[in-house]
């Protein structure tokens, strides 16, 4: 394993130090381990807090700023943050109007965030939780851990963040986040495994002519291993998976073609071309799109497609100004 690190045990803290140095507009608490907007929260604004394991950058710290998150708490690599840390971030984001937790649906994240929410509650702090579970590669069932939270997290954070910025109350911000999640479906394909600093070797062996289909964002193997194939066939595969799980109608779509970290932007654009062609010939209408590495899995080569069936209001909130390290427009 070759990585720009000093000691695997210090990666998160040292990356946070780098974020602090690069972004004076953010407040990085290296002790409590969270990233927040600099300055006190605007009185009366609902706070938006997210978090999860590191290794998905720019998610989440890269989405802290006006129009999106108030605070993010990064855990160790691929490990959810701990309750104390989430509580500290929640306090930093609270301006008296309550705080929304955006939580990706993983056992660890759900438990740590809910313990933090209990702690916040005993502090008299109102917390609403938006659970993101958009990954349709995983079968949904009340008997299992359910679907994973992946690419839609970005959409939830952007849209709930825009509403919070406008001054909407706690319930409305949470409801918007839940609506985005419900309307979204994601599916990912990996061409290579990724390597965590601690493990120091790839999470799985993948022959040179095979791909992992239906992977998540934690380096885990996917639902199946298939033969490598041309981009247009992979595009058909992911579009099909998304469409089968959540049929696409005439709604305006927000489409995210996301890189898992090791895939060049050139290929992501090529995939977006294929996907938009396929969606177009199926009669779907892409109203907004985003192409790039946003919800990553360290150095994994691969891509995910997220489709959100939006409406005019969701598009308006998507278009609203945002000013964060990794997502910025209109401001």
């Amino acid at each position: 394993m070759k990585k720009f690190i000093n000691d695997p045990a210090n990666v998160v803290r040292e990356a946070l130090a780098g974020i602090a140095a690069a972004h004076p507009e953010l407040r990085v608490d290296l002790e409590a381990q969270f990233v927040a907007r600099a300055g006190a929260p605007r009185p009366g604004k609902v706070g938006l807090v997210s978090g999860g394991g590191c290794g998905h950058e720019p998610l989440h710290a890269g989405f802290v700023g006006p129009g999106m998150l108030d605070a993010a708490c990064p855990g160790e690599v691929f490990t959810s943050p701990v309750p104390d840390q989430i509580l500290a971030a929640t306090r930093a984001a609270d301006a008296g109007a309550g705080v929304v937790h955006v939580v990706k649906n993983y056992t660890g994240d759900v438990m740590n965030f809910s313990l933090a929410a209990e702690l916040a509650d005993s502090d008299g702090l109102r917390v609403e939780t938006v659970l993101v579970d958009d990954d349709v590669a995983v079968e949904d069932s009340t008997w299992t851990a359910g679907r994973r939270g992946t690419g839609a997290t970005l959409l939830v954070e952007k849209i709930a963040g825009a509403l919070a910025e406008e001054g909407a109350p706690l319930g409305a911000v949470a409801a918007a986040g839940r609506l985005v999640n419900e309307r979204s479906a994601s599916f990912a394909v990996a061409l290579t495994a990724c390597t965590t600093p601690a493990a120091a070797k790839p999470g799985f062996d993948l022959p040179g002519d095979e791909i992992e289909v239906g992977v998540g964002i934690h380096g885990e193997p996917g639902r199946s291993r298939q033969k490598m194939r041309p981009a247009r066939e992979i595009a058909a595969l992911v579009v099909d998976a998304v469409q089968t799980a959540k049929p696409i109608g005439p709604e305006p779509l927000i489409v995210l073609v996301n890189g898992l970290g090791g895939t060049p932007l050139m290929e992501l654009y090529l995939m977006f071309g294929e996907i938009s062609r396929l969606l177009g010939s199926a009669g779907a209408r892409i109203a907004r799109s985003l192409v790039g590495n946003y919800v990553t899995s360290l150095d994994m080569a691969g891509m995910s497609l997220t489709v959100c069936r939006a409406d005019d209001e969701l598009l308006r909130l998507w278009d609203a100004p945002v000013r964060t390290p990794a997502l910025r427009w209109g401001a």
């Binding site: 695997p8 045990a9 394991g53 855990g75 160790e76 690599v77 691929f78 490990t79 959810s80 943050p81 701990v82 309750p83 104390d84 993983y106 056992t107 660890g108 438990m111 740590n112 313990l115 590669a137 995983v138 079968e139 008997w143 299992t144 851990a145 994973r148 965590t196 601690a198 493990a199 999470g203 799985f204 998540g216 934690h218 380096g219 885990e220 193997p221 639902r223 199946s224």
Partner: protein, 210 residues
């Protein structure tokens, strides 16, 4: 269980986890995200450090402190789950309950939090039979009960191999989770095996081996 035994247990677990971290991580890489060993090592190292600065205290305090430390240092699924295990043990002992009662409370706590049942391919598959075995053998003394619990847990680990996971990250793999032991069940069996060792008197050997 007295304070010395509780300390010896946690210290020996930290050591064992350090020694087995790579194996636990590899098991987790196969059907999860490859961090279970790293997570537990971080947690138990922190627990040992926290105990170093703990004033003379009861066994319940030692185990409770271990639980809160795991909770605040591990993260992921295993942080809250093992945090709950040791907090439940600590609380039960502090309230005058037996170790068997503590184990029962730990199991309840983990199931309340994680909603898993036996057969879901999680640490429950090791913990649940271990709790029953401990209770059944409690009359034979601490050491015998711990050994019975450890053996039941080990058996529980083996039983996870053919299962298809329904909880935790391994559930995302569907059919592909079959054929691998569950990492959390494996670490539960390890922790109980260490308990059997320390209660049987190997404690000083282990303690001084540090």
């Amino acid at each position: 269980m007295d304070e010395a035994l509780a300390r010896a247990w946690i210290t020996a677990v930290a050591e064992a986890v350090r020694a087995e971290a790579d194996r636990l991580t590899d098991l987790d890489a196969a059907i999860g995200d490859g961090d279970h060993g790293v997570n537990l090592r971080r947690g138990f190292d922190a627990a040992v450090a926290a105990l170093d600065s703990l004033e003379p205290a009861t066994a319940g305090d030692v185990l409770g402190k271990t639980g809160t430390t795991l909770l605040s240092k591990v993260g992921g699924a295993s942080g809250p789950l093992y945090g709950t295990v040791f907090r439940a043990l600590g609380k039960t002992l502090r309230q005058g309950g037996s170790f068997a009662d503590g184990l029962r409370a730990a199991l309840d706590g983990v199931q309340h939090l994680g909603k898993a049942v036996v057969g879901d391919k999680t640490m429950i598959d090791a913990l649940s039979p271990a709790v029953a075995a401990y209770a059944a053998a409690a009359g034979a003394g601490e050491a015998a009960a711990a050994r019975a619990a450890a053996d039941a847990a080990a058996e529980g680990v083996r039983a996870t191999v053919p299962l298809r996971a329904r909880k935790g990250r391994a559930s995302y793999l569907g059919e592909r989770s079959i054929g691998h032991p569950d990492p959390g069940a494996t670490s539960t069996a390890l922790i109980l095996d260490i308990l059997a060792e320390v209660t049987s008197g190997d404690v000083t050997a282990r303690g001084s081996a540090r």
